[in-house]
């Protein structure tokens, strides 16, 4: 077995003094695709935020190890430079900063040196084409006036540009039309290889089409209550969480 990329141990996370996650364990190895499901409000976004290092979430216990290093107390920008990426459920709008200059700055920050303008532009144009994005969007202020779907595509464009070791996608498929979900799935496929890993939060099987999912986790009651294979996705989308959660209870969680 290869060395784990992400190792979350006994994690306890609170926001505004309310415990959202407790006793959560998760291991992700390079090359793997993990899917995280669970009822609304279960704490899926909270887990992604805690792994990314959102300062609004307090880690009250446990540890987050990444690529052999303990990142539990590290700031988000340090984690990002180590190779953690989060595609946000609601991406920020940044007036005054064009998508292109933002991506170039971010790539420079993550790789430690500013990419050459022409090489960068060419690569960016290719990725935008893959994602069916109008080239003119490179000049537009980041996410300002973008539709919900366009914002999600811009997140995947960032994923493709920054090439992180671990990509967490928080409901990147929600609010996307049928074709856009396909396009985004293409983008994810283009990103994935044996050296990186994905943690995909979704309520929907569509985005997983064409991806070799290794594990599906169900988050409820503050931690992961059930882990299964890709067949679980179909089961949950067809019958809901009730059956699985009940089964999990019987197994003692």
């Amino acid at each position: 077995m290869s060395q784990a990329l992400l190792n979350v141990r006994d994690l306890k996370v609170a926001v505004e003094e309310k415990t959202i996650l407790d006793g959560l364990n998760l291991t992700v190895c390079p090359g793997e695709i993990h899917v995280l499901m669970g009822p609304n409000g279960a704490g899926k976004s909270t887990l992604a935020a805690a792994i990314m290092g959102d300062p609004r979430y307090t880690i009250e216990g446990g540890s987050i190890e990444f690529d052999g290093e303990d990142l539990t107390d590290k700031a988000a920008d340090v984690r990002a430079r180590k190779g953690i990426f989060l595609s946000f459920q609601t991406p920020q709008e940044i007036p005054g900063v064009s998508l292109e200059s933002f991506l170039r700055t971010a790539q420079g920050a993550v790789q430690g040196k500013q990419p050459k303008v022409m090489t960068f532009r060419r690569a960016l144009a290719e990725k935008m084409e893959l994602l069916n994005m109008d080239a003119a969007y490179a000049e537009r202020y980041l996410n300002v006036g973008f539709s919900g779907g366009e914002k999600k595509k811009a997140e995947i464009l960032q994923l493709l540009t920054l090439q992180p070791k671990l990509a967490m996608l928080d409901e990147t498929d929600s609010g996307l039309d049928v074709d856009a979900v396909k396009t985004v799935a293409e983008g994810i496929k283009a990103y994935h290889n044996e050296n990186n890993a994905l943690l995909i939060i979704t309520h929907n099987a569509k985005i997983l089409e064409g991806l070799d999912v290794n594990y599906v986790h169900v988050l409820d009651d503050h931690h992961i209550v059930y882990t299964g294979g890709p067949e679980l996705v179909e089961q949950i989308t067809a019958h809901g969480f009730a059956g699985i959660l009940k089964g999990a209870d019987e197994h003692g969680g």
């Binding site: 988000a76 920008d77 920020q92 940044i94 900063v97």
Partner: protein
């Protein structure tokens, strides 16, 4: 000579309780220094269509800058460098006025007049710089007259050391169908007193001011920008973006004065300030005066800290707090910096900002 008049005075003194009627005493125009003069620290380059004249054109006089009549008169009489320009025809080039204060020549008082003849189009760029440690004084008065249909752009780039004093008065007269545009960056100095005042006396004249400022340390920044509308269909746009750090004290007065006769005049003003520290003192006195009723006047103001959601988003993309701060300052200033008509100068301004921001701190 002693100044008795308030510097940068608000056109109507109704704001007494807020102490924004004029620049604070500490910011008064100092006595003319005995030494430290010399024309070696000032220079100019003419573009096609622009020539110098020996006498101050009458057309440029008769009005005053935002600094006020007395300050204008002092700068006029005490100037060690006076240049009067006449613009004819359409010129795509740029006339440069450079000022560089150094240890031997820390002082410069300059008087510039620009007379743009009917139908002419010209761009002037004033670059005010100093060596890093200079305790300089730069005082300037710029008087612009745009005759019918003329189009004048004045770019003012002030990149002085953090120990210099800066006084910048601009008076503008706009004739029928003429347009005067000022792009202003006040990025240095520990005392900065700046006031542009435009008289829009004739039909369809337009005045446009796009300004940025950066203040840190214990500096005092004081702005007094005025658009006076008396002509029909006149138009003014005055928009400022600023960043304040440390214990900087800043006041910005922005007045749109619609006087009788300014039928269908339109005036908009705004200020958008980013605050890096709770010890900053930020005062804004937007004022819209109406003696003519058939007008449209509007002001908008916003002041705030960097949004923590935005900072987290930038962090999640690998930007450390310093990089995130720089990006957000760039974002704020970009619309003005992008209007500087010369890449070398744009880079100069960006580099100067970069140096300032190296020492900047965001305090809770």
């Amino acid at each position: 000579m002693n100044t008795t008049e308030l510097l940068n005075a608000l056109p109507v003194t109704t704001w007494n309780h807020l102490r924004v009627n004029g620049a604070p005493k500490e910011a008064n125009l100092p006595e003319r220094p005995e030494s430290g003069w010399g024309e070696t620290n000032t220079a100019y380059e003419l573009s096609d269509g622009v020539r110098c004249t020996a006498v101050l054109p009458q057309e440029c006089t008769g009005e005053y800058s935002g600094l006020g009549k007395e300050a204008d008169l002092r700068i006029h009489t005490e100037a060690n460098f006076s240049r009067f320009f006449l613009a004819e025809g359409v010129s795509e080039g740029i006339t440069y006025l450079r000022e560089k204060l150094d240890a031997q020549h820390p002082n410069a008082v300059t008087h510039t007049a620009i007379h743009a003849k009917s139908g002419s189009k010209v761009t002037f760029v004033q670059i005010i710089q100093s060596d890093p440690e200079v305790e300089g004084l730069s005082a300037s008065l710029t008087q612009i007259a745009a005759e019918p249909g003329a189009d004048v752009t004045l770019v003012q780039l002030q990149l002085l050391s953090g120990k210099s004093k800066r006084y910048n008065g601009v008076s503008v007269k706009v004739a029928r169908d003429a347009r005067v545009k000022i792009v202003r960056a006040e990025l240095g100095g520990n005392i900065v007193v700046t006031g542009a005042r435009a008289m829009l006396g004739k039909t369809a004249g337009a005045f446009d001011l796009s300004a940025i400022y950066y203040g840190d340390g214990d500096s005092i920044l004081d702005f007094n920008d005025v658009a006076v509308h008396t002509g029909r269909d006149t138009h003014s746009e005055m928009h400022t973006a600023g960043v304040l750090a440390d214990r900087c004290r800043k006041t910005l007065r922005g007045t749109i004065d619609f006087r009788r006769g300014a039928v269908h005049a339109v005036g908009h003003e705004s200020e958008d300030v980013l605050l890096f520290s709770p010890e900053v003192r930020h005062r804004a006195a937007p004022l819209i005066l109406c003696t003519e009723e058939n007008v449209e006047g509007q002001h908008a103001a916003s002041a705030g800290r960097l949004d923590e959601n935005v900072l987290y988003y930038l962090a999640s993309r690998g930007l450390d707090p310093q990089q995130a701060m720089r990006l957000m300052v760039d974002a704020r200033f970009a619309p003005v910096v992008d209007q500087i008509p010369d890449k070398v100068l744009r880079d100069l301004v960006r580099a100067s900002l970069e140096r300032r921001l190296e020492h900047a701190q965001i305090l809770g």
